[in-house]
Amino acid sequence: MENTFKADQLPRDSDNSISLTLIKAALDSSVSGIIITDNQLPDNPIIYCNSSFEKMTGYKRNDIIGHNCRFLQADDRQQPERDKIREAVKKGQNISVEIRNYRKDGELFWNELYVSPIKSPDGNITHFVGVQHDVTRRKKAEEDLKHEKQLREQKITERTNELNASREYLESIVQTVRESLLVLDPGLKVISANQHFLNTFKVSLSETEDKSLYDLGNGQWNIPKLKELLEKILPTNNPVLDFEVEHNFPHIGRKLMLLNAHRIELEGEYKDRILLAIEDITERRAIEQRKDDFLSVASHELKTPLTTIKGYIQIMERLLPPESSEKLKDIIKKTARHADKLNNLIQELLEVSRIQTGNITLVKEQFDLDEMVTEMVDSLQAASSNHRIHLSGRTGIKYRGDESQLSQVVSNLLSNAIKYSPDSTDIDVHLAVVGDYVKLSVKDYGLGISPADQKKIFERFYRSSETQKHFPGMGIGLYICEQIIKNHGGSLWVDSEYGKGSTFNFTLPLN
């Protein structure tokens, strides 16, 4: 089957508006999920979805307009069906597949997907339509049957092995974890200590095993409060959680230790034992402290010279003779604007913690979105001679939002693209209207981001360990960007493949 339409029957015709409403209502009452993508925009973004699609996937329109449909595959990207769809889309053919997809809450569902191209009279494929059915139940029944027999056999062997295995298993865990562990008997005498404990506290096994916990070292654990908590573990099964001990330990000096203790039981072997885990958090605490100190010092050190700069600019404005050239006046005005921008950046840096609770205010005004993006592209292009930034597409939209914050987002995405693709030259920036959203994407051909890192990069102080090595700097940029876009009702996301490059996208709702 192939859907074709004549140019004068395009659904966006205004004199057709009644039938368009009708069509929309009809699509929304369908039990199938229905999706339309725009094949003429880069990466085939979704421009429409009906309400069954929202129900089936748990995503709202707002989350997904502008995305490529592959986000439904979550991290499950190695399915052969994915390649089949890609081939069909490339060739402009129909395809029907069953593919594992994931709801917004992460739950798996089997998607019976039918994708079909829409051609214009001149034969170009302008759109694709996707029709989805959730066939999880059928799939599950099939698979359940298959697995049931297998499972029953498996269980019997498992049970027999379990007891032996779990003993060795526990032992190997205790020895391998990079945390100090002690196993205690009900009288809080040490039954065993792992290698990490011995290394951390620079003690021998004979100094440790068979000794009372309170006699270890120089009596470091003999703390009344801790004693009370530990003695309650066995009768009440209440664990000791995150108990901090700061102490001058023998051999290793003053350290801050974090203690966690739980009751452990291994059926048939023993019942009343306590596992005490001790973690040295001295360094971590110091780093957190240094981070806080750094922020306060940065605030002070940056703001003082900024006050001076702002002051001189204002003096310049006053001293400027009225007959001065327009160019000079313009330069001073621009300098003032950038000094303010710098001030905002410093302010934001300091208020990251406040942003986290959702307290940044938006100053919304109408502005020319295309022009803003063009300006940011120009200024970053001017600053980077190694890269060529190609801007394509336009929205023609006067957008109502916080221009300074949004230009900060664009600038951030562009400078990331430059920073993280040191060995390639091209960066593609694309602007488009998708449905009732505008979409901006910034594509680089650089390092790319692994799936695990893709989740983390929007966290507050995160940079992936790989990129960390190559590009030292502060990692709050993306976090702030996401908050800004969210505050505008839009969404910011990344599509990336490790080693091939990344595309950062955001959408903003038009009203």
Partner: protein, 123 residues
Amino acid sequence: MKRKILICDDDEGILEMLEMVLDAEDYDVTTEQNSLKMFDRMAQVQPDMLILDLWMPVLSGDQITAKVRSTPAYQHLPILIISASRDGAEIAKNAGASAYLAKPFDIGDFMDAVEKLDTQSAA
């Protein structure tokens, strides 16, 4: 007669800039970068107003303020504290400063604060 203002900040750049601004408004300005020398300076200049930074090496703006306030002759001397630290306003108030401005400030706001203190103390 010109009113005398003594400014203390460990940052030379801001001292120079503020001096230029106050000069233009016809104040008699003295600047001091070393907070330890402030008391000698005060004895020498006999200022009508102090403008102090908060975080300075050795002697901080609030310490200077507290000490000045404990001198009977200076109990009502206008003191404006300027600072970039987050809790600056509260520290300034507790130390007994007359007014506070957060860095970075607008020159307009700065002059408003100075003139307000000046007319209050003259009245």
